[in-house]
Symmetry: C2
Subunit: 188 residues, 2 copies
Amino acid sequence: MTRKEQKEERRNAILMTALDLFVKRGYYETKISDIASAVPMSTGLLFHYFGSKEELLIELVKMGAAATGSTGKMADIPASVFFESFLSQLFEYSKAQPWVFNMFVLMGQARRSGMPEEARKIALSASGIEDTAKIIKKGQKEGIFRKGDPKLLSTCFWATVQGIMEEMAVNKEFKAPDPEWLIAILLK
Amino acid sequence: MTRKEQKEERRNAILMTALDLFVKRGYYETKISDIASAVPMSTGLLFHYFGSKEELLIELVKMGAAATGSTGKMADIPASVFFESFLSQLFEYSKAQPWVFNMFVLMGQARRSGMPEEARKIALSASGIEDTAKIIKKGQKEGIFRKGDPKLLSTCFWATVQGIMEEMAVNKEFKAPDPEWLIAILLK
DNA sequence: TAGTTTATTGAATTTAAATTCAATATTTTT
DNA sequence: AAAAATATTGAATTTAAATTCAATAAACTA
C-alpha cells in the first residue's frame, strides 16, 4: 500500500470516527481529543490531517451533500414504491452500514441548528426536499397520496424521518419502525 | 412592585430570552453575551441572576420537566381525541405562545444530544413516552390504532412531532402540518 | 546505508468564551 | 437625607479546549 493510500485511509478513519461521535454526542460535546483517542492517535496528529475541527465537520457535511445528490436519481421509480423502498433501505443500513445512517442524521442536524453556520449553508443547499416534493406531486396525481402542498408534505415527511433517525442515534433500545407507519403521513 | 418581584421578572426575561436563542441557534452556538444583549443587560449582570450558563439551561429543562408532568393528566380523555387535540393545541401555541413551543423543542433536544449530560438526565426522566404508550394501548383495544409495541409507537410518534417542531423552530416558511397527517402514524 | 521526507507525540501556546470583580449608580430603609 | 442594600457595568481574569510546535521515530528514496 502506498503512503498516499495510507494517508487516505487514516483520514477516512478520522472522518468516520468523528461522524460517529458527532452524531452520538453532538458536535460541540465532542472534543478533538475524544476523536483522536477513539481513532486512536494523538491530538496533535489529527491536525496533520485536518486543519481544524470545523474543517473536519465541513468535509463530512460536503460528503453528505454529495451523497444526498444521488437520491435525486431515484426520482424515476414509481411514487408508490419510492418511499417504501427508501425507508426500508435506510433502516436496513442502520445496522449494516452505520455510515449511511450517521450521515443522514448529521445532515439533518446541520440543516437545523447547533452547528457552525457554514455547515448549515452547505447542508441546506443539498436538501432533497424539492426532489421528493416532485415525487409526491406525482403520487397525488395518481391519487394515492393525500392532498396538500407537496413541499410541505415533503418537509413534513423528512422532518419525521429525521426525528426517528435521531432517536435511533441516541437510543439503542429504539428499533426502526415499520416504514408503513411513516408513509401513512403521505397516503390518502 | 416589590424588589423581589422585579428580580423575579428579570430572571424570567433572561430565561425566556435564553430559551428562544437556545432553540433557534442551539445551546453552544448561543453565547452568554448574546443572551445578555438580547434581554438586554450587561454580560456581567446575568451572573447576578444565574450562577452559570449551564445552571440557566438546567433551570429551563427543569421547568420543561415540570410542564411535561402535567401532560400525564390528559390521559383520561378518549384515545381517539387525545392526539388530535394535543397536536392542534401545540401547533396553535406555536404562534400565540412561543414559550410552550420552544420548551417542547428544547426538551427534545435535551433528551437527545448536543447539550450537557446533566440536562439530558433531567429531560429523560420527564419524558411523556410511557404516558402516551398507555393511551395508545387503550386505542389499540378500541381497535382504532394500528398493531405494534405501544412504547415503540409512542416513541415513534414523539420523535415525529419532535422532528416537525424542530423544523418549525429554524424554518420560518414551514407551516404546521395538519395534525391528521401525523396521527396517521398511529391509526389503522 | 545516508539522507530526506513523512508520521507521531505530548507539552506549550493561543483563543474564545465563561466567569469574577472592583467601581459606580440606583433604590430602599431608617 | 444618610446609610444600607441591591443593581449594573465593563474591564480583568480564568478556563477549557483548540491549535501550534519542537523534538523524535519511522519509512521511503537514491
